[in-house]
């Protein structure tokens, strides 16, 4: 079964109440009207009858002529509402009658009239028609006629009453009027009720509309449309207005809560993504380090295999050949010796690099003269430079005290000059310079530094290789001309320079030569600051020495 809507319920209730009220009011007013009409009828008939009696008594009494009596009675019958008239004398003999129906009998002896002194009865004829009948006495006394005159006629000498008049009023006439009134009243009531219901319907619809809208909005909210609001009835100053406002504020709060939750959720997701990303990064880094390690191991094994291959090959050749020329034999043994040296150098370099990188290298930090260190390195390499007819020149104007491990710094300089000698062609040129600068190097850290430059006129290095040459075992597109390098020299040099707080880099023009640079920090120049700084450095170095030892 279909539910009844609020509008329908309200209208139905109103209709029931209004109908009941209307019916009651109609019934009441009809009964009131009925009484009123009845009274009016009675009064009119009584008045007409009395008028007639007053006007005609004398003539009735005096004449007694039946023709005259008939005429008089007929005259009364023509008055409004009067159905029949009967005139009786004192002895109840009918003197005259007009329009009397046959079989007229008394139905009710007395019905109350508005005036107590007049006598009303209810009558019925043979055909079943009903009448109200008024009985009025005709007497000389009531006419204003002189009693003497009555006496004169004898008729009323002893009895003042001459006879009586019965006047019938057709009850149907009365009922017709009443019915018409009742109908009119019922129609009016029906019109009133339907107007009221129509108004009620319109009002109910107006009241219910916001509720209907709220229902729709609630549906929208249920499916997630939290920005839905109800516009109708927002300004109503009644319960529905309150409901609409409460509904809207509930929707607003829901929406705010959802937005807040969404925000929290997206923040959470963001955080999860961030963490995932970090984990991925860490994982990538680990993978990268792992890859680096395995690359390094295969690099090292390759680098060790190369001299080992020569040693093995030449040793076997020497073993298998009984008739080698003495010069060839000597040369093969030389190669074996060189390659064995290369292997031990490689191993020593690897161990050194590992120590520096893992922080277990022992650094013998001290105040030392950089000029002396450079001179020593140059002296060691002068013979091999001379072998290739390379001019090795030093431009070092003065002594320069630095806080450094002199052996390691000498190793750096030896590496750089040695590389120059290795790659320069015969008759080349190498120059070492030293100068004080106020920035560290490519990173441009301000401060006091000394910069050492090793310049050659060798083949130069491609731009894309300038950083890679400092990587371990990086060979690039050039072959080590004498095969003596470990592939670790520049990597070790970089570690040493970085450990001292300097930078190492290079410039090069392909085909014209390369310049390698490295810087070492200098202590601040002036008194107290210098002392403090020295003390701090000594402390640092002591600590490092202890760790190293």
């Amino acid at each position: 079964m279909r539910r009844l809507g609020i509008t329908a319920k309200l209208v139905l209730h109103s209709a029931l109440i209004l109908t009941a009220l209307g019916a009651a009011v109609t019934l009441y007013s009809v009964s009131q009207l009925r009484g009123l009409l009845y009274r009016e009828l009675v009064q009119r008939v009584e008045a007409q009858t009395l008028n007639w009696i007053e006007a005609n008594t004398a003539q009735i009494i005096l004449s007694g002529d039946p023709y005259t009596l008939e005429r008089l009675v007929g005259e009364l019958k023509t008055r409004e509402g009067i159905a029949y008239v009967i005139l009786l004398d004192a002895r109840h003999r009918q003197k005259a009658a007009v329009a009397v129906r046959p079989g007229l009998t008394e139905l009710k002896a007395s019905i109350p009239g508005p005036r107590n002194f007049m006598d009303w009865r209810e009558m019925e004829d043979a055909a079943g028609r009903r009448y109200f009948e008024l009985t009025a006495a005709i007497s000389a006394a009531g006419t204003g006629m002189s009693p003497d005159l009555g006496t004169l006629f004898g008729a009323a000498a002893n009895n003042p009453t001459w006879g009586e008049l019965r006047v019938g009023v057709d009850r149907r006439e009365f009922d017709r009027g009443v019915n018409a009134l009742v109908r009119k009243n019922i129609w009016l009531a029906a019109a009133r009720i339907s107007t009221a219901i129509a108004l009620r319907f319109a009002m109910a619809k107006r009241m219910v509309a916001p509720i209907t809208l709220m229902g729709r909005a609630a549906n929208q909210i249920a499916i997630g449309n939290l920005s839905e609001r109800v516009d109708r009835g927002k300004h109503l100053r009644d319960e529905i207005g309150d409901l609409v406002r409460n509904f809207n504020s509930m929707a607003l709060r829901l929406e705010e809560n959802r937005d807040e939750m969404n925000l929290l959720q997206s923040r959470l997701e963001e955080k999860v993504l961030e963490r995932t990303y970090e984990l991925e990064q860490a994982n990538q880094k680990l993978k990268y380090l792992d890859q680096l390690k395995s690359d390094f191991i295969s690099r090292v094994s390759h680098e060790l295999r190369t001299p080992l291959t020569s040693i093995k090959a030449y040793a076997e050749i020497l073993l298998d050949s009984s008739d080698l020329e003495p010069g060839t034999e000597k040369r093969f043994l030389d190669i074996i010796d060189k390659e064995a040296n290369r292997m031990s150098r490689l191993i020593a370099d690897l161990l050194n690099l590992e120590k520096i990188e893992s922080g277990t290298m022992s650094w013998a930090m001290t105040h030392c003269d950089l000029r002396q260190i450079i001179r020593r390195a140059a002296a060691v390499l002068t013979p091999s430079a001379a072998d290739k007819d390379i001019a090795l020149k030093l431009h070092i104007p003065e002594a320069q005290s630095v806080w450094a491990d002199p052996d390691r710094i000498q190793e750096v300089i030896t590496n750089l000059i040695g590389n120059g000698i290795k790659f320069c062609s015969h008759g080349g040129y190498i120059e070492v310079r030293m100068r004080r600068v106020s920035v560290s190097g490519p990173n441009r850290l301000p401060g006091r530094y000394v910069r050492i430059e090793v310049i050659d006129d060798g083949p130069g290095i491609r731009i894309e290789e300038r950083d890679r040459v400092f990587e371990k075992f990086y060979q690039g597109t050039r072959t080590d001309p004498d095969g003596s390098g470990s592939g670790l020299g520049l990597a070790i040099s970089r570690e040493i320079v970085l450990h001292h707080g300097g930078e190492i880099w290079l410039n090069s023009i392909l085909g014209r030569g390369s310049s390698f640079y490295f810087t070492l920090p200098l202590p601040p120049p002036a008194g107290a600051l210098r002392l403090r700084s020295h003390a701090a450095r000594e402390e640092t170095s002591d600590a490092q020495n202890r760790v190293g030892l």
């Binding site: 390759h302 190369t306 291959t309 090959a313 030449y314 050749i317 072959t479």
Partner: protein, 121 residues
């Protein structure tokens, strides 16, 4: 007419030792110390066999293998890869590139001599 063997290696001492062994066995020796020279010599001289290092400057040994095996006139050269890269995947990569034989460093000259005779005589 003696057979010709092309030897390619960027390590001078290894190049010299392999060349020495091949020559001692009575074959003609061609030598290259980088990939581009090796490819050029292989194409112009059409050697009977080739002893090829993998990691070399200017051109990788694997690439040389692939190019020679793709050329109609060089397809017949017997390629022995001689490399310090001794891992399984290095070997498979070489074979995929068309190498006929794979020897790891350090190598035995005695073994190399025997293989050359088996192949070329």
């Amino acid at each position: 007419m003696p057979k010709t063997v092309l030897v390619c290696d960027d390590e001078p001492y290894i190049l010299e030792s392999v060349g020495y062994v091949v020559r001692e066995e009575g074959y003609n020796v061609l030598m290259a110390d980088n990939g581009e020279d090796a490819l050029r010599l292989a194409q112009s001289e059409s050697p009977d066999a080739m002893i090829l290092d993998i990691s070399m400057p200017t051109k990788d040994g694997t690439l040389i293998c692939r190019e020679l095996k793709a050329g109609p006139s060089t397809r017949g050269i017997y390629i022995i890869v001689l490399t310090a890269k001794g891992q399984e995947r290095d070997m498979q990569e070489s074979f995929r590139a068309g190498a006929d034989e794979f020897i790891t460093k350090p190598f035995s000259p005695r073994h190399l001599r025997r293989r050359l005779h088996e192949l070329l005589d």
